[in-house]
């Protein structure tokens, strides 16, 4: 079964030895909300800033948590809005099964023109 956001939060919290209440306190959220997030039962959509705080407290990757929450970071949305061809480009990447590593390899190396 694919990992859910709740699984990820619980796993990271356990790895850091944080209790539910301690983690909630560091996030400035109630333990009930964190508990519902871990159980994938929180109905209120998560704000990006909440996920950023989650990543900080759990020492985890922000983008991974965003994707698990089914969200696209605002800075990525801005990039896509700037170029209307990007969504179709991303779809094509998906169809052709290209990985980010493969695409990065095609980009000019830093420092070279």
């Amino acid at each position: 079964m694919p990992e859910t956001l709740g699984d990820r939060i619980r796993k990271r919290r356990a790895a850091l030895g944080l209790t539910l209440r301690e983690a909630a306190k560091r996030m400035n959220k109630s333990a009930t909300i964190l508990s519902r997030l871990e159980g994938n039962r929180e109905r209120t959509p998560l704000k990006e800033e909440t996920i950023r705080k989650l990543a900080e407290v759990l020492e985890d990757d922000f983008d991974t948590l965003m994707l698990l929450a089914g969200k696209v970071p605002q800075d990525v949305v801005t990039v896509m809005k700037d170029d209307p061809k990007l969504p179709e480009f991303l779809r094509r990447i998906g169809r052709e099964n290209l990985s980010a590593d493969q695409l990065t390899g095609m980009l000019p190396k830093k420092g070279k023109t």
Partner: protein
């Protein structure tokens, strides 16, 4: 379907030794002797590997007076979100559920071996094994879990050491305490004494009521009438 938890009679000393057993195992796992406040969340989640959740239990159960419940088969303990912010009651409820886990889960497991019909259907909705309703707090399993919780959060040796530090050899004597407790009125002087012991002994995760009853249980506070009628050594 919710079934009533049938448990055998346990002597007070048996519950005490179960608590000591859990604390000893936790101490070995942690690498240090647990001292108050006993980290019941750490024991639950990280030592026992039980999932601890705080949620609105009315969404899970058809009762409005449930403070905690244990789903043995799913390895989950849930405490009602109404207790969030009331640390003493929240931790006592969690410790109470751990009491069920430690004392009663082996009994349920044994029943599953001898009664295969007890097993849950693969497609059935998960149901809790233990539901702790405030209206049922006099049932044997509930009383045992309460005793377990009190002894786990307020270990006898730590409470005694703190009382000795605070009171020396002179235990406090409160007039009419027993009568008020029997009438389910928590004594004001007992509350103050409990607060002092909590402060001095770092029992920060229990309520004054819980500490008061623990002090009474350990006979570390005396009722004036009982004190006067105690047989004296000559």
């Amino acid at each position: 379907m919710l079934t009533k938890l049938q448990v055998p009679f346990l002597k007070s000393a048996q519950i005490e030794s179960s608590v000591i057993d859990l604390l000893r195992r936790y101490s070995k796992w942690k690498g240090s002797v647990p001292r108050p406040p006993i980290d019941i969340e750490d024991i639950t989640e990280h030592h026992l590997g039980v999932v601890f959740e705080i949620d609105d239990l009315t969404q899970w159960l058809p009762f409005s007076d449930v403070l905690g419940a244990a789903w043995f088969e799913d390895n989950v303990i849930r405490v009602d979100s109404s207790l969030e912010g009331k640390e003493g009651r929240l931790f006592f409820t969690l410790a109470h559920e751990i009491g069920h886990w430690w004392l009663h889960r082996p009994i349920v497991e044994m029943e599953k071996v001898t009664l295969p019909l007890f097993s849950r259907d693969k497609n059935a909705k998960p149901t809790p094994t233990v539901v702790c309703r405030t209206s049922q707090n006099k049932e044997r399993a509930e009383v045992q879990a309460d005793l377990f919780a009190a002894r786990l959060l307020m270990p006898e040796s730590d409470v005694r050491a703190t009382v000795k530090k605070v009171c020396g050899a002179n235990l406090p004597v409160i007039e009419g305490m027993r009568k008020r407790l029997d009438a389910r009125q928590f004594d004001g002087q007992l509350r103050d004494y409990a607060a002092e012991i909590m402060r001095e002994g770092n029992f920060t995760n229990v309520s004054k009521e819980a500490m008061g009853y623990r002090l009474v249980d350990l006979k570390l506070v005396l009722d004036k009438a009982e004190h006067e009628h105690q047989p004296r050594l000559v």
